[in-house]
Symmetry: C2
Subunit: 340 residues, 2 copies
């Protein structure tokens, strides 16, 4: 991918206004020769040709993209935003961030806001499977790429991991450690990740001849507090789970919080696996066992594909559909089941 240049860069370098740059490139009369020279020198010093700059002037792109996050206070989203902003800066794109707090109405508002700001394209990190607004944008051919999420549309552009496989890997790890009572802290099944990971969990359980306990599955809101309470309640029951799989590392932290509040030891009394591999997971003081989503690759590829879509808006395109392989990172929060 090559670097971009804008008339603005040239104007700044030449110390003139953008409209002067435009006039020079369009061969307006009445431009002082010295000014003309300054602009052309700036262009060549920036390593571009006159034509490239002229093209950028007529492009009518705003060189900004929108990024819609589910919850910026969840490190997975924040860290992916960091990757996207850094890459976008290199490509001379600005990033306008909206945060939905996993609220469907906020998602629609965010899209309207971004379209109002005339962004060239949108990245969405969290969307329910049957979202019609995102569907409409796809249908219209507006550049949009989903990551860590997708909608039920064979033509959707997305970058995800194999969620079913990821959840199965996690459950199989717990089964190997002798756990038989495994809870799954999911979130609403209207999201692809949540639902697909549930499928993986279910399959791994049944393939190993165990029975799925519906009481052990949380599929309410992505609320730290609610998950904290649910976990506490589950852990005080007589027939309590000995292990937990969480839909995100953030939720795994809520489980660790709740278990510790009951004076249970991790991993001696309870094993916990997260999903995402946020940077905190590999901190040795915490050492969270988790399924990596390869967030850096996921976010970079999503941005790269979005920029491709923006650059070739009139071409016929196959949908961007990338499925990354999950990776289980075994650390300190999982251990042999001692509760025979």
């Amino acid at each position: 991918m090559i670097g971009r240049v804008t008339a603005d860069d040239v104007a700044r370098k030449a110390g003139v206004s953008q409209s002067t740059v435009s006039r020079v490139l369009n061969n307006y009369p009445f431009i002082k020769e010295a000014t003309r020279e300054k602009v052309l020198t700036a262009i060549s010093e920036l390593g571009f040709t006159r034509d490239e700059i002229a093209r950028s002037l007529v492009e009518k792109k705003t060189r900004s993209i929108g990024l819609i996050l589910g919850d910026i206070s969840n490190p997975f989203f924040a860290e992916s935003a960091g990757v996207i902003i850094e890459q976008a800066q290199k490509l001379k794109y600005d990033v306008v961030i909206c945060n939905t707090n996993h609220n469907d109405e906020n998602l629609e508002k965010s899209i309207n806001t971004l379209i109002g700001k005339r962004v060239d394209g949108i990245l969405v990190a969290s969307v329910k499977r049957d979202d019609t607004k995102v569907q409409q944008l796809h249908d219209k051919g507006f550049p949009i790429v989903l990551y860590n999420s997708s909608i039920d549309d064979p033509m959707a552009n997305f970058v995800v991991i194999d969620n079913i496989r990821g959840a199965k890997m996690a459950v199989e790890h717990l089964l190997e450690l002798g756990h038989k009572k495994i809870a799954y802290i999911a979130g609403p099944f209207k999201y692809l990740t949540t639902y697909q990971r549930y499928i993986g969990y279910k399959e791994a359980i049944s393939e190993n001849g165990l029975t799925l306990e519906q009481d052990f599955v949380y599929n309410g809101d992505f609320s730290y507090q609610k998950i904290f309470e649910f976990t506490k309640e589950l852990l005080t029951k007589k027939n309590r789970p000995t292990a937990f799989l969480a839909v995100s590392d953030q939720m795994a932290l809520a489980i660790l919080d709740a278990a510790t509040s009951l004076n249970l030891k991790i991993p001696e009394d309870v094993s916990v696996i997260g999903f995402d591999d946020i940077s905190l997971a590999s901190n040795q003081f915490i050492g969270l066992t988790t399924v990596s989503q390869h967030m850096e690759v996921m976010a970079s590829v999503a941005l790269e594909k979005l920029v491709d879509l923006i650059d070739h808006e009139s071409d016929a395109f196959d949908p961007v559909q990338i499925v990354l392989k999950p990776e289980l990172k075994i650390r300190k929060t999982t251990a042999k089941n001692l509760d025979k």
Copy 2:
């Protein structure tokens, strides 16, 4: 603070274009009576008057603000962005986020980007004390409010905590626990927070008759890896510190990571105090002792003050200068010094 309305809201509600709203309000001829009715009904249903909407049309505001973060992958910044986005949504402002990675050049670029996007005002969460670009914006009267940071200018607008007091509270807590060898993991002294907290650390040490060991002070980059290495090196020395104060919870996590990698126990072998009180700090599995910056209040007030500045741009204004009280949160990472 009252809710805002834009012509866009009216247009959406009435199911017409923004320019139709504008034409109705400006009494253009040739507007169908039915359309006129729809627009006026929408305005009244939204709880506004015709005048208010007309004013919003001539305001020429973009209703977007810029937010410049030091490092979006540091939960303090990400969580404060979450608070700001949520509050801004209520006030019908969009937030354009830039991330500098604590790089001075990126800060200048970010400001240029945001001005180019014609934001109505800017919030800055991290800036060095002698930054000239931020200084210039202040001088020009452009709406700008700093939080968690400030510049050396008596007219700067900022919301901070009493950093000197905060650091003293932390060091005094460690002294009471019998620690005499206390390291301070700061970051570059060009930042107000880093420097002021160093002053507090120094004062507390000398007021208690101890000698400050310069080897125990880190003032290099805000690099997780560098701080991890520095801590490891310090902890393997014969005359090693028994306690650490970190300039942020993120850096405290790096210290915990490094200490654990040496098989040192927290808090038995090493006590650690952070700064910020990110949500993770109160997670009982981690229980990080820290100095709270009252981030939610800090971020909300900064936004509120920024919006005030935007709304009254032509008025003479005293600078916004708010200093919050720090609060020590004693949790599990600090304990009595057993290393006599």
